[in-house]
């Protein structure tokens, strides 16, 4: 069902503030932003960190879908082009050499996409650890856990930074560092963690942003090439032929045309990552508001809309 995949904001919050327990989750989310958040209210701080962790989780899930689609689009475009151009190669050896080389290059790309996905999932774990650290009853060992997750993120990022995709080096697209000051939090373990690593984590989210900038442009080209071949084969040629059109012709034409438009908005993932980074800085500065979270959710839904339309245009053969 179209758009059923969209994230509802009502699911994005679980308030633990006792005096607000009777309110709906949406109210809690709204309150998290509308009320000034101070270090004096432990439950509000908890809500703020939980909201961010949930937005981060939603982002990682949606970005995983985009990464899958980027991989699918690369393979499908290459397969369609290979099938279309196969008769251009004269001998079995030429054809074998071509497809082996293409497989090797596609494997490299899929590996990079997988590393970007792993990097995102580790960030999600880090956000969840931060949310747990915001709880005054959190065990002291959580600080060590945060360090462990951060170390894993750090081990992955050089490979992503130095990689190229679609003609652009990911490193060249990392946005400039944001200058921010970690606020004082009553839970000392949390404050220490943020002071130790929040600037580095902001850079890791910036790396995701850069990766999705690069992925978006490659995805756009792969989708356009794939959809053009499908448009020629499924829409134009059957229409041009002096034969009856299959019943599926009209719906198929619509799917392809809609997906062509969706392909040009492949930059939604990059917007969502930018909003996640802004919200992380706001969280650390103790000023995360409902509009920040709403902004992430809107951007995530745009990512999901894009992938839904692309999936709709993929025939189920």
């Amino acid at each position: 069902m179209a758009y059923s995949h969209r994230i509802q904001r009502t699911r994005a919050s679980t308030s633990t503030c006792r005096r607000r327990r009777s309110r709906s989750p949406l109210s809690a989310l709204l309150l998290a932003g509308v009320l000034p958040i101070t270090s004096g209210c432990a439950t509000t701080r908890l809500t703020q960190f939980h909201n961010f962790a949930q937005a981060g989780t939603a982002y990682v899930k949606a970005s995983q879908v985009v990464l899958d689609e980027a991989g699918n689009a690369a393979i499908e475009a290459d397969s369609l082009i290979a099938q279309k151009g196969r008769d251009g190669l004269r001998t079995a050896d030429e054809r074998r050499e071509f497809i082996v080389a293409e497989n090797q290059e596609l494997r490299k790309r899929l590996l990079l996409l997988r590393e970007i996905g792993r990097h995102g999932r580790l960030l999600q774990s880090y956000f969840e650890t931060l949310a747990a650290l915001a709880d005054p009853t959190a065990p002291a060992t959580l600080g060590t856990a945060a360090q462990g997750v951060f170390d894993s993120i750090g081990r992955l990022s050089p490979a992503i930074k130095n990689a190229s995709l679609g003609g652009v080096r990911i490193q060249d697209h990392i946005p400039q560092a944001t200058n921010f000051v970690v606020q004082v939090f009553k839970v000392k373990t949390l404050e220490n963690e943020l002071k130790a690593r929040s600037k580095a984590i902001e850079r890791e989210i910036a790396l995701q942003e850069a990766a999705f900038t690069v992925i978006s442009s490659t995805l756009e080209t792969d989708l356009t090439a794939k959809l053009q071949v499908e448009e020629t084969e499924d829409v134009i040629e059957p229409f041009a032929a002096a034969k009856d059109l299959p019943k599926s012709w009209g719906p198929r034409r619509e799917e392809i045309l809609r997906a062509r438009v969706a392909a040009s908005s492949a930059r939604a993932a990059q917007d969502a990552t930018a909003k996640l980074r802004e919200s992380f800085v706001a969280l650390v500065e103790n000023r995360l508001s409902e509009p920040n979270i709403a902004g992430i959710i809107t951007a995530i839904n745009s990512m999901l809309d894009l992938t839904e339309q692309i999936k709709n245009a993929t025939p189920s053969k």
Partner: protein
Amino acid sequence: MDSAQIYSATLEQLNKTVVRLTSSEWDAKVQGAPAEQRREALAELLHVQHARLVLANAALQEIAEALKANEQNLVDGQKALQGELDKLAAVQSVLNAISSFINVVARIVPLI
């Protein structure tokens, strides 16, 4: 241009070329061409797609020197190829421009 700019411009040209070669306009042109030209057009589509994938996966630092050494040929090749793709006049002229450009790219990254 620095090597990163040459790299991006070359890839962008390959992307634009693959998009043009998968378009219905080009398909219609090729269908009306003689058999040997049709075969050549299909082969060039594969060469462009392969070059695009290989170059996109290449590490810039490893090919920076080769890019710089071939800068002028790449710039000239891009200009000539884009001109042919915009006009989309004679199939053979487009194929010649693609072939020349791919030959320069093959000096930067190993192609099949």
